[in-house]
Symmetry: C2
């Protein structure tokens, strides 16, 4: 498919070489990250909330308590700006000025749509669980009516979207190259520890396959 | 010191037990995280940018290119909402509804102040480097006038601030406890890989002490 079309506010003004409008690039960042950061305007002031997210095709999803301030604002049509970032490295250059961070960021401008169709809502919640733990959804009891009512799912179309990526090594001034200081990159990684079973877990239940050597989504 | 005073917008409406206004709790989250998420209003719409941050006492700092859209908006007095989140675990409950994430989040409402005093600005940039790599600042050449001019540092007073923390294990419905599904927590960690020296690093420069067994700030 064609890249996301640039708009005025998704066009990078500086460091253009770090920008990407490629769908696969954007999707990969969204799919690997566990959570996003949702900005919206509340009572005339900026507000921001971190929350889990997932994606299906060109639709981006978040969910939350139907009573939450963010959900109520966004289901009412307040425009959102949503950001997802993975931090990949500390770039220690030979000067403070050129020191940097390696990262992959996606920014989405969109207005949410509350999913009202129960089947669509259930399918989206399944897609969320499939992102985190493939196969687990079918092991769980189905959500009951009260739980479905207490949960709102919001869908955002991926249209006004851009990625920004900084990778690679240090980029120093030529005159700094002989400075007597270490320079390079310290990788930053998201890792997962050994799953910790609930103290009340039934004795006959072992670790499911989807949690063996778990490396997370994406 | 006393806790941060609650305001209408920092008072949690739901899950009150997860809220904290304790300064040490807030400081520890800010100090451990490498980056924050800054929301502001731009051309009447919400905007959000991830950026590195640091703290000194009750002052929170970000910096950026003096030409950046965010810096220009915020130095002009646009109110900001800043969020910092560390993700600590995937909480896999016996139902989708009670599945959750362990996290530590801080939200700050504040208006930025551009640091115009050169000595204050230099001290703040040193504090940033000290957060990431203690001792490294004194190994680097000083920033030159052009670099100082190209960099804007914004300070935000920590006053309207709250933390929200979810930790611990699964909290299931009593009637779900015997369900035949694994339940527990998968720890999520930020880790650092082996530092990767620049290909052009001087042969006589070894890994500095502050990067040996590096575990990051905080």
């Amino acid at each position: 498919m064609a890249d996301y079309a640039k708009t005025k506010r998704t066009t990078l003004k500086r460091a253009h070489e770090r920008g990407s409008y490629d769908r696969d690039t954007v999707h990969a960042i969204l799919d690997e990250a566990l959570n996003c950061h949702v900005a919206f305007i509340h009572d005339g002031a900026p507000a921001i909330i971190p929350t889990a997210h997932w994606r299906d095709g060109e639709t981006f999803y978040i969910h939350g308590s139907s009573a939450s301030r963010m959900i109520r604002a966004l289901e009412g049509g307040a425009p959102a700006c949503i950001e997802v970032t993975m931090t990949d490295g500390l770039v220690l250059a030979r000067s403070g000025y050129h020191s940097s961070v390696n990262y992959r960021t996606v920014v989405i401008y969109a207005t949410g749509r509350k999913i009202t169709d129960e089947a669509e809502k259930l399918a989206s919640l399944k897609a969320f669980m499939e992102k985190i733990a493939p196969g687990r959804w079918d092991e769980l009891r189905a959500p009951n009516a009260q739980e479905m009512k207490a949960t709102t799912v919001l869908a955002f179309e991926l249209s006004e979207v851009s990625a920004k990526i900084r990778d690679g090594g240090v980029e120093d001034e030529p005159e700094d190259m002989n400075d007597p200081v270490w320079a390079g990159v310290v990788p930053v990684r998201r890792t997962f520890g050994t799953p910790e079973p609930d103290a009340q877990l039934r004795g006959d239940i072992g670790l499911p396959g989807y949690l063996k050597n778990y490396t997370g989504p994406g």
